[in-house]
């Protein structure tokens, strides 16, 4: 099971990288940009029997290591089970060819 984890600095914690990106976007003419917060994105593959089990384990991992509760918040999405490996693979390959 694949889980996508998003870790971001809490509101109120200084995010100098986000601010620098915001200024760059303004310089490029994207005046509508109000605020940029930068965070981390992790993909974790798990071998667990159920979504509930994945949720419990991922929460634990985030609290222990992946996020620092003093400065960071996290959220995660558990990807739907792939219907079958056969239907998924050709799509990915086509996508890659199109990009290349």
């Amino acid at each position: 099971m694949r889980v996508k984890i998003f870790v971001c600095l809490k509101e109120g914690v200084l995010d100098p990288q986000g601010k620098a990106i915001e200024r760059s976007l303004h310089t490029l003419g994207y005046k509508e940009v109000q605020d940029v917060r930068m965070g981390k994105y992790l993909e974790v593959d798990l071998d667990v029997p159920s979504r509930q089990a994945a949720e419990v384990r991922i929460r634990e991992m985030c609290d222990k290591l992946l996020a620092n509760p003093v400065i960071e918040d996290y959220r995660f999405e558990i990807e739907a089970e792939k219907p079958s490996a056969v239907s998924d693979q050709p799509l990915t390959k086509t996508g890659l060819k199109a990009d290349g």
Binding site: L14, Q17, L65, N68
Partner: protein, 238 residues
Amino acid sequence: MRWGVIVFPGSCDEQDIYDCLKHNLKQKVEFLWHKDRLNGKFNCLVLPGGFSYGDYLRCGAMARFSPIMQGVVEFARKGGLVLGICNGFQILCEAGLLPGALTRNASLQFVCRHVFLRLEETDTPFTRAGKKGQLLKLPVKHGEGCYYADPATLERLRKNRQILVRYVDGKGRTSPSANPNGSLDHIAGVCNEGRNVFGLMPHPEDAGEKILGSEDGLKIFSSVVAACDKREKRAWPG
């Protein structure tokens, strides 16, 4: 007294600390490898600066799970003295032995220069050899030294007088330009409530002799020596 300097993969200031303690202060020092269990009696454990585990994920995030850290936490709980410098400070915060966290410098730049610190409290084993308000000239060298704590924690730090050193200018005044990393309330170092764990971003070990431009770092180490003379029996395990 006996000092232990813990070495993590990616630490790089352990030799400076060893040299400063051994040659400038004639202390008994030994290195402790992070994979070992804490074994033997020590009066003070030092977590050095550097880039433990390559600073991956967050500075200090992985080092806190090194096998030796369990012993360090227990040592601290029993009142043993623990000093974290730079990356060592980050590790102690990640391990929950010190409040708050250290984040990316507000300037986004790595800073490497001498700064002035104002000694705010002297009733700790790490600052007792100094005078309140005294200035110390020490170098900083870090990219993630911006101290942060939520408002309730900051209030508690002030109330319990846990802020031991602040960044100031040469006249002892706080100002944005004297604050090298944007730290909240100009905080350069804090101790725990028990006052036996201290972490700071500047490097006392790199200010241990005149040729380095300052001897002020010795104030921190000689405070510990003086404190341990008085409580020799507190070496752990007892």
